[in-house]
Symmetry: C2
Subunit: 169 residues, 2 copies
Amino acid sequence: MTARPDRREQIVTVSRGLLEGDGRDALTMRNVASEMGIKAPSLYKHVKNRGEIETLLSERALAEIGGELAAAEPGLESFARVYRAWALANPELYRLATSTPLDRESITEGVEQSAEAPLLDALGSDRDRARACWAMAHGLVMLELDGRFPPGADIDAAWRAGVSAMISG
Amino acid sequence: MTARPDRREQIVTVSRGLLEGDGRDALTMRNVASEMGIKAPSLYKHVKNRGEIETLLSERALAEIGGELAAAEPGLESFARVYRAWALANPELYRLATSTPLDRESITEGVEQSAEAPLLDALGSDRDRARACWAMAHGLVMLELDGRFPPGADIDAAWRAGVSAMISG
DNA sequence: GTCTATACCCGGATAGAC
DNA sequence: GTCTATCCGGGTATAGAC
């Protein structure tokens, strides 16, 4: 009952902190170990290698996004709001989870689908449009995270325009 | 008149080859130098550091995309086709050019705008929708490059659905 | 399950001779 | 403008003792 997380869980936690705090390059075995108060070689008793840590993080990220989307009220506006908010609150984790090749074997079944379902509901099960819509959200998020919009750009307005086009188009 | 490129130009060329051929990690000073038949320290007589090479590559990429978009026939369908085709033909360079923070000081003036203009034309100068549309294209490309669509997904259809929504929405 | 020690690899960048 | 020599840093991962 005591809230002592096991080592794997702790690895995920400190890895996430390092990633979000100091960027992807900070996610090294040495840093993770150091944050846990142990030495790097000891980590290999708990995870296979660095890649497994990233997989665990991606899994966690996808589960969180999926959970929030599933819990949100239906509709595209709500989807957009929740999706964007999560990404901006967890920029490095979002990047990691979406730009990694995603080995579908090791990812928990259904996690990917649960992130997709709300979108399908909002668009009358139109798979193609759902994918376009997902891509638009992903693109808007990435461009924002990467500082790709011109300085004065009204990003809110771009989201509104996109969502509205997807709904009424 | 002889087609002997100067060193900077040569650096861009071999860097591009390394990047596209072996991925981003292959873009090292040692590799670039080796491809040129010289030693790594010599590169510093021509470029300031590795970052400058990446900037040069980004500049080149943006100029190329902008050029192709400007030369294409007007309309959103054409934009989509050209944009996607360039990205798929130059995946690593596309990634580099779009996911780097883009230091606007050192980038040639107007390069960014020229890539944006065709989109504005196609959408009646609606800036917000143009940005949403750009984001959708970027998102579709990134998801495809990162192998993020499910195995059987019809990516062509997703593009069509997205473009059609953006036009008629 | 943690440690120390270590092997191995890689990278960016500079100094100074030629 | 190129070289050699070198410094400095970093990383993943394993072996074997405790």
